[in-house]
């Protein structure tokens, strides 16, 4: 009964989305306030019914209703309750429902927090989001209904893939999806601007916080996924340039470009058409990410489906969305114009260069990811593009971008004098370069890549410090000046520092990691870096839904015991799948990482063991956290909140003056 209610709620949500996609947009075109006014109630209704559907599926999982096909495929009665809830998005159908539910949530948020926007803008934005929802709900109802019944019901479920039974994976997909779906808001704002033919600094100020929030979620989602891969896949890698990772990385790169382009549009009124194009592209890549991951075209842990009907549906959906928005762009972009003029040497042109580099980087990832697909589709043979391709392309593109990243915030808008700027930064740059050249020597190994990575990171730090000094130094009250800077300024600097911390992590872990795969008898020791690892054998333990061999490894430094590690090799009861659970002892300066390979046959308890030292690896995710914090600070800026009060004030004032004139006339 409950699943049928969920199914019915989806159909109602589809109907409401249809109305939402049509009525308010017509209303905005005809300037009909009644039709425009339908947008908010429709969004509320849509959200309620999507929430009901989502709740029904969650209930089916928690209650172990194995008469629902999707539940039977992705859950098991032995599964702990928390993972049963997470299993809702552990497969294709449920992920789509999560997508649609989050889309409803974003639309609701726009409806609630847009009281200060002109009615026709709200109508158009919500209408476009309604159209996107129509696409997804149709897709779900016709090709991937999560509420399909399985008759007769299965006695027990097939279980959730053990790799996904992990706290990191409980949060990773919703977070990433919040980002994917969040870009639909930026997209809807862009389409609304095209439809209305009006795009100015105010428009940019409206859509900026939404884009930043989406970007923050996406950063978090990608970072969580990477962290999960690091501790869960059991071999210590944190980024594999896997097509599925690339699918989320591409919209992130373009989203980053979009944030910067929006900044120029807000501050200087420039880059208008470009901003719109970026918003369209970022959302299209989000959709494509969903397509790549969900269609089964790319086979990996994320590819839940291998049903071509779904692929064709998403592909046509994609073609319609991209085609229609580009047509609209070609037709309406001349009307919104290119925006303000700027000199060859100006903060605008630096940001333009940053945008170009980010877009080119996106394109290169795109080529590397889809090239094998195209070749295969054209019958030219099967091939794969490995991580070396991405390294070879990415470093030369990102290095100049990071150098520019230090200059940008220091340069003046409209135009700057190159000699003056270079004089200002010369000491900062020289200091960063000197430190980057010498530090690797002190750490015992010097390579050009390490020095380059450190140079980029230290250069960012130095430029941030320089900018802070220029703004805050001087006589008098320091705290007052510090408080005088806008939150969005601090947000930018935090995010940039995040990039520096991230680069330090990547550089040092790549440069100084020790990886030893060794055969270890009970009592054997192995030296890795400055640590000595002793293998104390493997004993059997029992988990809630698995049995495991638990290894005991003690790590010591200079003869002193540092920590004990307990890596596991698990065998899951229902699926019979083996799983490696690494043991990690984290630290600011690096992680000790031990995972069990396999038992050596006839080895008297000997095992193949991975013993890794990962210096500064956690800085990678700390950097992502800083970037997120920067984004959060930026959207907390006063000017986004003051806006609402201002409009209220103005209307109050108008009311007051009206009253006064009336009074004046009366007297």
């Amino acid at each position: 009964m409950i699943p049928e209610i969920g199914h019915f709620a989806l159909i109602v949500a589809l109907f409401l989305a249809f109305c939402l996609g049509i009525l308010p947009i017509i209303g905005a075109a005809r300037n009909n306030p009644i039709l425009m006014g339908t947008a908010r109630p429709l969004v509320h209704g849509q959200f309620v019914f999507l929430a009901i559907a989502f709740g029904c599926l969650t209930y089916a999982f928690v209650a172990n209703d194995f008469s629902v096909l999707y539940v039977a495929q992705h859950s098991n009665s032995q599964l702990p309750v928390a993972y049963r809830v997470a299993a809702v998005w552990g497969g294709h159908e449920g992920s789509l429902l999560l997508w649609a539910f989050l889309l409803g949530g974003w639309a609701l948020a726009v409806a609630v927090f847009s009281k200060h926007l002109p009615e026709e803008m709200v109508a158009r934005v919500l209408g476009v989001m309604g159209l996107v929802a129509v696409g997804f709900l149709l897709f779900m109802l016709f090709t991937s209904n999560p509420f399909d019944r399985l008759l007769p019901a299965a006695a027990d479920g097939a279980d959730l893939n053990p790799l996904l039974q992990d706290p990191g994976l409980v949060i990773h997909p919703p977070m990433l999806y919040m980002g994917y779906v969040g870009f639909s808001v930026a997209f809807a704002f862009a389409i609304a601007a095209l439809l209305g033919g009006r795009m100015d600094a105010t428009w940019a100020r409206w859509s900026r916080p939404w884009t930043t929030v989406a970007w923050v979620f996406m950063t978090g989602g990608i970072a969580l996924g990477s962290w999960w891969a690091y501790y869960e896949l059991g071999w210590g890698g944190w980024w594999f340039w896997d097509p599925v990772e690339n699918a989320s990385f591409m919209p992130w790169l373009l989203g980053t470009a979009l944030i910067h382009s929006l900044a120029v549009t807000e501050k200087r009124g420039a880059f208008k058409s470009w901003t719109v194009l970026l918003a369209i592209a970022a959302f299209s890549l989000s959709l494509m990410g969903t397509f790549l991951v969900r269609s089964g075209v790319l086979t990996s842990v994320h590819a839940f489906a291998t049903d071509p009907k779904r692929g064709i549906f998403i592909l046509s959906f994609l073609v319609i969305v991209i085609g229609a928005s580009l047509l609209l762009f070609a037709w309406r972009a001349p009307k919104i114009g290119l925006g303000g003029k700027f000199d060859l040497l100006s903060r605008e042109s630096l940001l333009l260069l940053n945008n170009v580099l980010l877009s080119v980087a996106t394109a290169s990832v795109f080529i590397g990811t889809l090239y094998p697909l195209f070749m295969d589709a054209l019958g030219l043979g099967k091939l794969s593009v490995g991580p070396p391709y991405f390294h070879a392309v990415f470093v030369p593109l990102m290095a100049p971008m990071v150098l520019l990243m230090g200059l940008g915030p220091l340069a003046r808008w409209k135009n700057f004098s190159a000699p003056e700027l270079f004089r200002r930064v010369s000491w900062a740059f020289a200091g960063a370069a000197l430190l980057a050249l010498l530090l690797p020597l002190a750490m015992g190994k010097w390579t050009a890549m390490i020095a380059l990575g450190l140079l980029l990171a230290f250069w960012i730090v130095a430029s941030v410090l320089l900018s802070l000094r220029e703004r805050l130094a001087g006589h008098g009250n320091f705290m007052k000046r510090a408080r005088g800077q806008s939150l969005s300024y601090y947000g930018m600097q935090f995010a940039h520092l995040g990039v520096a911390v991230f680069i330090i992590g990547v550089t040092l872990v790549k440069g100084y990691e020790t990886e030893r795969d060794v055969r270890m008898n009970v009592g054997d020791t192995v030296q890795a870096g400055s640590y000595e690892f002793r293998f104390n054998g493997v004993t059997d333990t029992q988990g809630p839904n698995y049995v495991a061999g638990q290894g005991r490894v003690s790590a010591s430094k200079n003869g002193k015991l540092v920590t004990e590690l307990f890596p596991e090799k698990r065998q899951y009861n229902s699926s019979g799948m083996p799983m490696t659970e690494a043991a990690i002892s984290p630290g600011w300066l690096g992680d000790l990482y031990v995972s069990l390979g396999e038992p050596i046959p006839d080895g008297n308890g000997a095992w193949a063991v991975r013993v890794y030292i990962k210096p500064f690896v956690d800085w990678i995710w700390a950097g992502c956290l800083l970037m997120m914090l920067g984004g959060v600070l930026a959207i907390s800026d006063r000017r986004y909140r003051i806006h609402r009060k201002n409009t209220k004030h103005v209307s109050d004032k108008i009311g007051a003056t009206n009253a006064m004139t009336l009074e004046g006339k009366a007297s």
Binding site: V385, V393, P396, D517, R519
Partner: protein, 169 residues
């Protein structure tokens, strides 16, 4: 003349400079991408193709198929593993030093990346992990299909003329 030009660069000249810079940058990027692709694409071959010497010599490529039953042997160091990759038509021996993925098993699908050395053995640098028991790497599935068709035609050929069927081991 020159300083004047720089001081009042006309919009037309500015645009020209911009276009030249853009074209040069584009050429650089395209070159970079093509070069990287050219160097880092690894082609995929089936055991039958490798057997027929269709795979490149001295260059890394990928091979997909099944791990032949009973073929996995460990050397004394416990880390070096010898096994045979088959598409049920032709088989190629492979060697890998390191820890194999959890789901590496005899009779299951596998994809290995590496080079064929002079000894005719695939020296794998990487053995690809699968994430799911029921999942077959597409390359391996493809190899099996091709192997089957090759077997079918081999059977047809043997029934026509008796000899030369034993090479399929």
């Amino acid at each position: 003349m020159k300083p004047e030009m720089r001081d009042n660069m006309k919009p037309r000249q500015k645009r020209f400079v911009f276009i030249v810079v853009a074209v040069v940058a584009l050429a650089l990027v395209v070159g970079l991408v093509l070069n990287a692709l050219n160097k880092n694409v690894s082609l995929y071959f089936t055991p039958t193709q490798v057997f027929n010497n269709e795979a490149p010599q001295g260059r890394s490529f990928r091979i997909g198929g099944l791990v032949e039953e009973g073929s996995v042997k460990r050397e004394k160091d416990g880390l070096t593993v010898n096994f045979v990759i088959t598409d049920k038509h032709k088989s190629i021996p492979a060697i890998y030093k390191g820890i194999l993925p959890d789901l590496f098993k005899e009779g299951k699908g596998v994809v290995a990346q590496g080079k064929i050395e002079a000894d005719g053995v695939m020296h794998a640098e990487e053995v690809l992990a699968k994430h799911d028991e029921n999942y077959m790497p597409p390359e391996a599935a493809d190899a099996l299909k091709k192997g089957e068709t090759a077997n079918a035609s081999a059977v047809a050929a043997t029934s026509a003329s008796a000899p030369a069927a034993s090479a399929a081991k």
